[in-house]
């Protein structure tokens, strides 16, 4: 049995390949159009030196989260794991990752140049457990043709919640009068998606948990105000269908059945290929704040990583976040680079500049950074409560006041 343990999938053993290079198995979930860009950077890195070889193992994020723990426990896991920085604290808390603070302390790694939000996203309990792969802000995509058809100016997307609410009656179309619109003002998903709905709580100064991650804010008047606004827009004005997941929302916008969607840069390729005439803008601001949701994917090293592999992985991390690595990545994927100092060198794709524009980056916020219970809170408390409210099973205030005690219970665990 011992003889075959090291074969194939990397594992805990310090295997080298035929050329004497250390092989690193890199698990990630870039299954979309961003996958080839990732592979390109890895290929460039492998060609740039003769000590380390990185092999990308691309699988859906779902599968990755399911497999990573069992495979690391079985000593047969990845050498480098990428995951949403929001999920990292939970795994760090369980002892899956080792702290990477010494990476940030080494001046050779040039980590000063990285976007602060991208670095801080993977902090947990005073240590940093990840090095950023990407840094994505969620922008407002709007369908210019649908705006024109509704008699609205296709170059003037809504900039505030109230402006948006005023446009809802025009952007929602019920052709046959059956009470079910054929076209919705916005595709706003409530489950299995990047957490757009939760981030809307910031607009009034509310949120799910306090900034220090110790107190639930879900029952605060500001949070209830934001939820009331959005739930009633969906329920009473039919601004969006109820029960959408992320893929449904993308589909709705892509097929011209929704005028607006708030989503990340990875959808640009798909919408371009669908021939959609769309514009990009900073999402409409709430009455109190104009926070923009940012999602960071970070790379971590499993608990059983040897010093030798750690050193090899650090070389790859440094290359990934180097100017040349980031220019290739941003050009190929449409993501803004993790470092602002190369922004003007990203010229092949217009999107990195838009998603990484200073006024967007300045408003960027990560959802529940450093909260170990962040994943469970989102999936087992917030999302079910939201679905209840959207289905009219109680008042927004009652539902979220109760959910708030559950959030607090998760935080106190």
């Amino acid at each position: 049995m011992a003889g075959c343990a090291g074969q194939g999938s990397g594992g805990g053993g310090d295997e080298t390949n035929a050329d004497g290079k250390i092989v690193l198995d890199f698990w990630n979930g870039f299954t979309g159009p961003d996958g080839p860009a990732l592979e390109q950077v890895i290929a460039d890195f492998n060609a740039s030196q003769d000590e380390v070889e990185v092999k990308a193992n691309i699988m859906p994020w779902d599968t990755l989260y399911q497999k990573v723990l069992t495979s690391v426990a079985g000593n047969d896991g990845p050498d480098i794991v990428a995951m949403s920085a929001t999920r990292m604290p939970q795994f760090a808390d369980e002892g899956l990752f080792i702290p990477l603070d010494d990476y940030y302390e080494d001046p050779d790694n040039d980590t000063e140049a990285l976007a602060t939000a991208a670095v801080e996203a993977s902090m947990y309990d005073g240590n940093n457990y990840g090095v950023p792969v990407n840094y994505a802000t969620m922008m407002m995509f709007y369908n210019k043709d649908l705006f024109s058809a509704a008699g609205l100016d296709p170059e003037a997307p809504p900039t505030t919640w109230d402006e948006f609410a005023a446009m809802v009656p025009q952007l929602s179309v019920d052709e046959n009068g059956d009470g079910k619109p054929e076209q919705y003002a916005i595709a706003l998903a409530d489950h299995e998606t990047v957490p757009i709905f939760p981030s809307l709580l910031w607009g009034t100064g509310g949120g799910i948990v306090s900034e220090d991650g110790t107190t639930s804010m879900l029952g605060d008047p500001e949070s209830i105000e934001a939820l009331d606004f959005w739930v009633s827009l969906v329920r009473e004005q039919r601004a969006a269908p109820v029960g959408l997941n992320g893929a449904d929302a993308d589909k709705l916008f892509q097929t011209g059945k929704a005028a607006i969607e708030i989503v990340g840069p990875w959808m640009t390729t798909g919408f371009d290929e669908a021939g959609l005439n769309y514009g990009l803008a900073k999402p409409f601001a709430g009455p109190a704040e104009d926070a923009v949701l940012a999602d960071v994917v970070s790379m971590g090293l499993p608990a059983n990583t040897s010093d030798e592999k750690k050193e090899a992985a650090y070389k790859f991390f440094a290359y990934w976040n180097s100017p040349e690595g980031q220019i290739t990545w941003a050009n190929g994927s449409g993501f803004p680079p993790t470092r602002a100092d190369v922004a003007d060198q990203v010229t092949e794709s217009p999107y990195p500049a838009i998603f990484g524009a200073p006024e967007v980056a300045d408003s960027a916020r990560v959802l529940m950074p450093g909260v170990a219970a962040g994943g469970p809170i989102l999936e087992t408390v917030f999302t079910p409560a939201l679905q209840k409210a959207l289905n009219g099973e109680g008042s927004v205030e009652d539902i979220f006041t109760e959910a708030s005690t559950q959030v607090q219970a998760e935080l106190d665990k």
Partner: protein, 313 residues
């Protein structure tokens, strides 16, 4: 009789014969054990050992990475007060109580219909059996498409007759459970139908002829001959179907992920969520053990109840 000449065999001779027979018996027993060995090893390695391990883990706090920490009955105590557990328990019982009898009744009806001779019989049999052999993932995805509120064919047809669900059947809390139940029945009914078909064909035809000569009508023949003589199949089918429904997971997982807001979350899905998503393998093991005991008790009751009605012929 020749026996008198054989009977007075001296004891000195009988002893080795006896010993030889013993040795032969022992050898036969050994052979039996050897034949059983592979099955026993598999049973031990893949059923009994994991079962014991699960019981042990249910008494610990364990996340796969750190070593298990003994917590005694704490997981079970938490379980009893956990609304998520009772919600999943309620959903599982509801699902099993509806899907099991409906599946059994439909399996019997289809078997009776498809036991007749008519054009298209083979096609109908295949059509009903087919869902059982298709991968569950594919079936669940296909149904999710059919029921999709925007692009779903079934949703479209239903809208033509005035039933227009604004949100998907699977995301509407009023219909989600019913939708996964219907697919659950549809998926498995063919398998149980085949068991019933086999049973129907083993009933001697002359019994029906005799009954007909005695003036028994179709309903009477069904009540007095078919149903009693199928009781073995009914026992098998009901026990199998009940156990399967109590363990419902994959199809519902792909179709709804337990949503909306846990309306369709079953016990096995909760086990999966607690274990692989919340990384609480001790707690998940405690739920598994409770489910195991529950399935065992229900199966025993069912067995005891239906066995009294069993017939042999």
């Amino acid at each position: 009789m020749t026996s008198t000449s054989v009977a007075p065999a001296p004891p000195t001779v009988a002893a080795p014969v006896h010993r030889r027979r013993l040795r032969a018996n022992g050898r036969r027993t050994m052979t039996a054990w050897l034949f059983l060995l592979p099955a026993l090893i598999i049973l031990l390695a893949f059923t009994l050992y994991p079962m014991g391990q699960a019981v042990y883990l249910s008494l610990t706090d364990y996340n796969l990475i750190r070593s298990a920490e003994w917590v005694g009955l704490a997981n079970y105590e938490e379980l009893m007060q956990d609304p998520a557990f009772w919600n999943a328990f309620g959903n599982t019982v509801l699902y099993a109580l509806v899907v099991t009898p409906v599946t059994v009744v439909f399996a019997l009806l289809f078997a009776l219909m498809l036991n007749q001779r008519f054009a298209g019989r083979a096609f109908s049999r295949t059509a009903i059996f087919l869902p059982f052999i298709v991968s569950l993932g594919i079936i669940a995805i296909a149904w999710a498409f059919l029921l999709d509120p925007n692009i779903g064919l079934l949703s479209y047809w239903l809208s033509l007759i005035g039933i227009a669900p604004e949100q998907g059947w699977l995301t509407d809390p009023r219909y989600a459970m019913a939708a996964v139940m219907i697919v659950g029945v549809w998926k498995n009914v063919g398998f149980y139908m085949v068991i019933y078909l086999a049973g129907l064909q083993s009933i001697p035809v002359d019994m029906y002829e005799a009954a007909r000569l005695d003036g028994a009508g179709p309903w009477q023949r069904f009540r007095s001959i078919t149903l009693p003589l199928l009781s073995n199949q009914t026992l098998l089918v009901s026990v199998l179907a009940l156990i399967a429904t109590l363990q419902a997971f994959d199809q519902i997982w792909v179709m709804t992920r337990g949503g909306p807001f846990f309306r369709t979350e079953t016990l096995v899905m909760l086990i999966y969520r607690e274990g692989f998503q919340e990384l609480r393998f001790g707690y998940a093991s405690a739920i598994s053990f409770v489910l195991l005991v529950f399935v065992f008790i229900l199966s025993m009751i069912q067995f005891g109840f239906l066995r009294r009605k069993q017939v042999t012929y």
